[in-house]
């Protein structure tokens, strides 16, 4: 099939950027979206033009690198699907497809469709861990974990850190991302000793980085390729309030 692609091009961080339009013929419906981009790029290289830069790696929906807004939706039209898992059979012959980077105050564009998500890293570094050194761990089965909690912790831990939630949110909020990590550790006994410090520190950095506030829209959950639930935001709020009320001040 044939497609018209409107792609965001931006030379670097300070460049204003703009849309370029490309025609792509003979797109195979079995191809994945990124394979279609590869074909576009091969065409551009052959025409002595600069190919479109985009983040990608695993191409199987788990690393969280790929990050395109396709026809206005982060990761495109399908539920629970990353950009790299999207296939061209979901588009029609002659369609115009608009492709943009994940846009947010806290995700500056580096080039074309590549954004800087290091704000996520700084949030994780603030508290997204349990402070156990290598070799200090007790026997694995010493602390049983309720099976239901274990399943919920897994559901929260399934977040791939792609940032689609931020891109989808009209406020550019990272509450789903932070909520998922805070929830995982709040649901596991191993996470309890540092529970309060963790949520306060992570939220503080989240705010510093320029993410917006949560106004209960739910677009994040709808667009999340791993279908992370807004229940994690509920838990985050509960952990936060609880921590605020419990932490003793000198």
């Amino acid at each position: 099939m044939r497609l018209t692609l409107k792609v965001w091009r931006q030379k670097n961080k300070s460049d204003k950027g703009g849309f370029e339009t490309y025609q792509l013929n003979n797109v195979d419906t079995h191809a994945s979206f990124l394979e279609m981009m590869d074909v576009l790029n091969e065409q551009l290289v052959n025409e002595n033009k600069i190919p479109v830069a985009f983040d990608h790696d695993c191409r199987e929906g788990i690393c969280g690198a790929c990050s395109m807004v396709i026809n206005g939706r982060p990761h495109g039209p399908l539920k629970g699907t990353t950009t790299c898992q999207l296939h061209m059979r979901h588009f029609h012959d002659g369609e115009t497809v608009t492709i943009e980077p994940f846009r947010a105050n806290a995700f500056p564009v580096l080039k074309d469709l590549v954004v800087d998500r290091s704000s996520f890293e700084r949030i994780q570094q603030a508290g997204g861990y349990i402070s156990v050194g290598t070799g200090a761990a007790p026997e694995a089965n010493n602390i049983p974990v309720n099976k239901v909690d274990a399943e919920k912790a897994f559901d929260a831990a399934a977040c791939i850190g792609c940032g689609a939630c931020v891109a989808a949110c009209k406020n550019g909020s990272a509450m789903l991302f932070v909520g998922a990590k805070v929830s995982q550790y709040a649901l596991l006994p191993q996470g309890h000793p540092e529970r309060n410090e963790r949520v306060l520190n992570m939220v503080a950095v989240m705010d510093e980085e320029g993410f917006g506030g949560c106004t209960n829209t739910g677009a994040c959950e709808a667009e999340c390729p791993k279908e992370i639930s807004v229940a994690n935001i509920m838990r985050l709020n509960r952990e936060y309030i609880s921590a605020k009320l419990s932490v003793e001040k000198e």
Partner: protein
């Protein structure tokens, strides 16, 4: 040159504990004065960087992705083995050791593998303490499952994404050290050269992938944890960025490359759909517990699978291997699939696929049971192919998945270059000629958490008076000069073909002639073809843009240049190893019924190759493998 594996003396079960009790240590005050560089932040790299930082060393960690959590360890599905014996079914450290040695077809070192089995139990403890959400039973205790061809249930898992969860555990430990400032993390930075000074590894040259800036980083030791080189075949289950550059550069600076031709092909992957295919997707080995593999009995049969009656179907694994049936080991299953397709009986549009059929299992157990077992895998298959495995058979084909070969290392995980270490998939050591399922995750974390932190002290105890390594030495000047020269040369070729064109071409030669079934003629031809590809690449590749910006084409070019050279070495290694073992199958060396024929008299050694210079033949060194504990047997699955 004699290769000294430095395996400690004494009974097998005591080597590691005795070693730990007598290894030289670096006291805490001195650790602060020592810098260590870690390249790669997958399971092996992140665990090493975090553990070394906790110990008090000053660590710099580098990865080319935008986050340390995106290393390809993240994609591992199945599980991680450990000899906990929670199931009370007869598992033990010795049994895990034995299964791994035998599974590796007796081409790995006893000492290293036994240690791996010993520390496996500590790994589970560490991960649980980090908050890794392993599957639990109703008691709240950890669950286990069995994995391919093994008689005990020793695999710990987190649904179908154990790799992701283990990596996030190591990543969280790494993050804590970044906050503590014991580790400085450089994301979107790729190592492009090692720096050797007075025979010791003293640092690296790194390229900032956003600005193109070339940087010098010095350290008392360099740890490479850069994963496998499966992308030399272009199509593999690896991520797009996975490459051999770090270890290849180390190799060209003197580190021997061990058993490069030992590559693992996984039998159940989604087949190639077209010319534009960029990678292959793995379908978990667990599917073969219930699926039946078949093709038509007649060649060129284009009928829909539902229209082919039972009598006209060839369930070839069940036919050829009655006692193991569909559950034969990976190398056997892969070769059998290739044989069927080469015989003109492959299925699908390309004819390069076989059926994995769940119809009988669904009839027997019901759709709900099958869905509970494989739901997410069936969903993944349907997303990619648009076909529904509940109503039509899956199509699968073997694909390159893992590389057992890698840099030669001794018992300390140090290469033959002092101060240069290799951990995880990028070293050669523990899996011999064939890796067992659920053991790659085990090895990466074993190396990073529980081996390297001890063994590196042995070397670094000699560096406590060295002082900071300076980056303004001749060695660094030379290394940076060479990097700039290479990049400039690449950018100025301004030829007519893209990097991907050459990568695909190389991949096809490697797959056709150094893939599942190898022979002397094919390998010799491949070596000549690859030499031609190298010449063409360096005279006709086209890289748009400039070097001083984010330039994915340049990044790919640097990696492909190294793949081309590695490919030639792999063919050479495969050519010289005149036997079949594990994933290395030479058609000239097989039993009368088509199984691998090992030659333990002549080839029970590690082939460690030494780089001798541009266009010079590489020199082979042999580390003879001594088996004190296990008896070598021929593997049979009939």
């Amino acid at each position: 040159m004699a290769l000294d594996s430095k395996i400690p003396s004494g009974p097998l079960g005591e080597k590691w504990s005795r070693y730990k009790s007598s290894v030289k240590l670096v006291n805490p005050a001195n650790k602060k004065k020592i810098d260590i560089i870690v390249i790669g932040t997958g399971l092996a790299g992140a665990s090493a960087a975090a553990s070394l930082g906790e110990l008090g060393y000053k660590v710099k960690a580098f990865c080319f992705q935008d986050s340390a959590r995106r290393a390809h360890s993240i994609a591992a599905q199945g599980g991680i083995n450990a000899a906990k014996n929670y199931r009370n079914d007869g598992d033990s450290v010795y049994r895990l050791f034995y299964d791994t040695i035998k599974g590796g077809d007796y081409r790995s070192r006893e000492g290293n593998v036994h240690r791996l089995a010993e520390v496996s139990v500590n790994i589970i403890d560490q991960c649980v303490a980090q908050g890794v959400p392993f599957a639990r039973e109703y008691s709240g205790l950890l669950d286990n499952r069995s994995f391919g061809g093994v008689q005990v249930s020793r695999t710990f898992y987190a649904r179908g994404q154990t790799g992701q969860q283990l990596l996030l555990g190591a990543y969280s430990a790494l993050n804590r050290q970044v906050k503590e400032k014991s580790v400085e993390l450089f994301t979107r930075h790729e190592m492009v050269e090692v720096v050797i000074e007075n025979g010791k590894a003293r640092g690296v040259i790194v390229r900032d992938l956003v600005t193109g800036e070339i940087q010098r980083h010095a350290a008392h030791a360099v740890v490479l944890a850069t994963g496998g080189y499966g992308n030399v075949f272009f199509l593999s289950t690896n991520a797009m960025g996975c490459n051999t550059t770090a270890i290849w550069k180390a190799h060209k600076k003197g580190a021997f490359f061990g058993n490069p031709c030992f590559t693992q092909i996984h039998p159940t992957c989604i087949p190639v759909h077209g010319e534009y295919q960029s990678k292959l997707t793995l379908m978990s080995e667990s599917l073969r517990n219930d699926g039946r593999v078949w093709v038509s009995k007649s060649k060129g049969d284009k009928r829909k699978p539902q229209d082919i009656p039972e009598e006209e179907r060839d369930y070839y694994l069940e036919r050829k291997y009655p006692s193991f049936g569909n559950l034969v080991p990976r190398d056997i299953a892969s070769r059998a699939a290739k044989e069927a397709c080469d015989d003109g009986r492959g299925v699908g549009e390309t004819g390069m696929a076989v059926y994995l059929d769940f119809a009988d299992a669904i009839k027997k157990y019901g759709k709900d049971t099958i869905s509970a077992r494989y739901g997410n895998l069936f969903e993944m298959y349907e997303k990619i192919t648009g076909e529904d495995p509940y109503t039509t058979p899956m199509m699968i084909y073997p694909a390159v998945h893992y590389t057992m070969g890698g840099l030669w290392v001794d018992y300390n995980l140090m290469t033959n270059v002092p101060g240069m270490y290799a951990t995880g998939e990028c070293n050669f050591s523990d899996h011999g000629a064939n890796r067992l399922g659920a053991s790659a995750l085990m090895q990466g974390l074993a190396d990073g958490y529980f081996v390297l932190p001890y063994t590196i002290g042995d070397y670094l105890s000699g560096e406590i008076l060295t002082g900071k390594i300076k980056t303004d030495s001749t060695a660094f000047d030379e290394a940076e000069k060479n990097v700039r020269a290479q990049i400039e040369r690449l950018m100025n070729i301004k030829g007519t073909k893209s990097v991907d064109y050459y990568h695909r071409k190389l991949g096809k030669v490697m797959w056709d002639k150094c893939g599942m079934a190898r022979n002397a003629t094919g390998l010799s031809e491949a070596i000549e073809e690859i030499k031609k590809i190298k010449t063409e690449f360096w005279s006709d590749v086209k890289i748009p843009g400039t070097a001083n910006e984010l330039n994915p084409e340049l990044e790919k070019a640097i990696r492909v240049a190294d793949f081309i050279e590695l490919g030639e070495l792999m063919c050479l290694d495969a050519l010289h190893r005149e036997e079949s073992c594990g994933g290395h199958f030479r058609t000239e060396f097989q039993t009368p019924d088509g199984e691998a024929l090992r030659n333990d008299d002549k080839f029970a050694y590690v082939g460690a190759w030494e780089y001798k210079g541009e266009n010079q033949p590489q020199e082979l060194h042999k580390e003879e493998l001594v088996f004190e504990s296990v008896h070598l047997t021929q593997r049979s699955y009939k």
